[in-house]
Symmetry: C2
Subunit: 333 residues, 2 copies
Amino acid sequence: MENRQILIDSLPEGKLAESNYKLVSSQVPAIKEGEVLCQTIAITIGAGTRAGLQGSASYAGAPKTGIVMNGTGVARIVDSQCDELSVDDLVVCQSGWQDFSVHKHTQVQKVSDDIDPGHHLGALGTNGLTAYFGLMKIGEPTAGDTVLVSAAAGSVGHMVGQMAKVYGCRTVGVSSSPEKCALLTTRLGYDESVSYLSPDFRAELKNACPDGIDIYFDNTGGDILGAALFRMNEQSRIACCGVVSQYDTSTPAGGPKGIPGLLINKRIRMQGFLVFDYLSEYEAARQQIKAWIDSGELNPLNDDFEGLEKAPAAFVDLLRGGNVGTRIVRVSN
Amino acid sequence: MENRQILIDSLPEGKLAESNYKLVSSQVPAIKEGEVLCQTIAITIGAGTRAGLQGSASYAGAPKTGIVMNGTGVARIVDSQCDELSVDDLVVCQSGWQDFSVHKHTQVQKVSDDIDPGHHLGALGTNGLTAYFGLMKIGEPTAGDTVLVSAAAGSVGHMVGQMAKVYGCRTVGVSSSPEKCALLTTRLGYDESVSYLSPDFRAELKNACPDGIDIYFDNTGGDILGAALFRMNEQSRIACCGVVSQYDTSTPAGGPKGIPGLLINKRIRMQGFLVFDYLSEYEAARQQIKAWIDSGELNPLNDDFEGLEKAPAAFVDLLRGGNVGTRIVRVSN
């Protein structure tokens, strides 16, 4: 049996390309006492990973080449040398972009085997938890709030809008193409959508938010953040979740005008967060999210590519804004 | 008796100049039922007033010419047609830059007559309250925190550092000239000072904050904010109080790089505030500030110009960073 692996072959200069990656094959590794061998079923690809390929400041640390591309996967245990986990158990692990990975048993998390394994990478994984904690902890939604979400069809954004609806908010999503904007209102439950590609984006954003914005869930930074700042209400909140507008470049732009002036005039709270800060509350959040899925209030979408070799293409497409929902690469059954 | 008044003669293009103002003389106004006539003793000049002379976004509204320059003063009542206030009472009012002003009795605030009237415009006025609420409500200081303050010798900044010391914080002040930086540590109780005019400002800021920054009380925005952002600790707070770096210009600069990226990586909370939001807590805050003055923990400085006609010069000098403490123009005794 071979272990297909996708390596970072070179660091992108400018936009990420499939050619920054290389597919190689190696032997399936052996495991030692306390370890498990995991066969990857699916991996998820998030825009945030792009920051790890930049030399600039990022929580992901300095970039390297010649290593397996990092990524979170759902996997089945095919060999175990520990008492805690058995062959056939389903787990979430830092599989990377490869067929097989070895982990200490403490480094994988056993998950339930009764739903689409992809949901463990989406709604019940980092994406869903990010949507949940960003909205709840920073946004603090109350009924009647206008909630703006950028990258609103994305892996996190497509759940933020639905969660905000549960709290009685009015939701406005920002996305790219007219097709994706249409999906926001027809499939993803947003009350309104606006395309940032429109030449009249700022006017359309204003029209879509006649009472201003109380919560802006920012997945993009850049010009959309700049435009949103001018529509924020007094005492409003900006949950800084991602900077996808700045990931796929080696020369990040300056910050938006009006900072800090507008923050003062409108008494805006702008706060960054990482989902990992809420680790102790993951389990309660997962139960809530699962309950919303069961009740039909939350319809998480997975956006599949088939085959490990498609992972680079899936990533490049994601950075171009090609995805709706959580991007999943199916690796095996 | 004449009423000397200083009018806004023209709006500044670029930097404010004394020639933007004009001194005129008019009759002392008569008062009606329910009104008081106030003779200005002193006015305070704050950098924030500069925003009201710009066409850009400001909480002060659109600028006008031909009107008396606005400003807060401490004044003595010289005529009263109400039961609530008597001749010789000391009040704080929106006197503007003039000898005499008329107010409804509900629009002035009677203050105690047992200390330097200037303190009602400084430590016990908007400056002191701004320092207090920004530090307490946004900064949330705890012992051991490193607190950075920009415009640290200024009307607000010179009190923030002293208040933070009360809570056991380590304080670092940013100012302009070596002389002002020396004052920060010798007279204003700061542990360290850094000059933003130094060519090695960023390195010196890093050296002055070896454990990073937990609270940044930002009076300036601009490049100092940009530099501070890179030294902020995880879960740190930026209290956005003023944008003095951007007031004295008609072309405000873009925002600092690293927003929102750094806010996310470090989970920074950046929050604007206006002192008026805490109106219901003013009285308690004043009691606390008064207690600190009495105990010697807080030494508020007033920085005097003598004579109403000096107000434009005092303002221009303030915007150049000439003041230490609260700038006061003494108008009468």
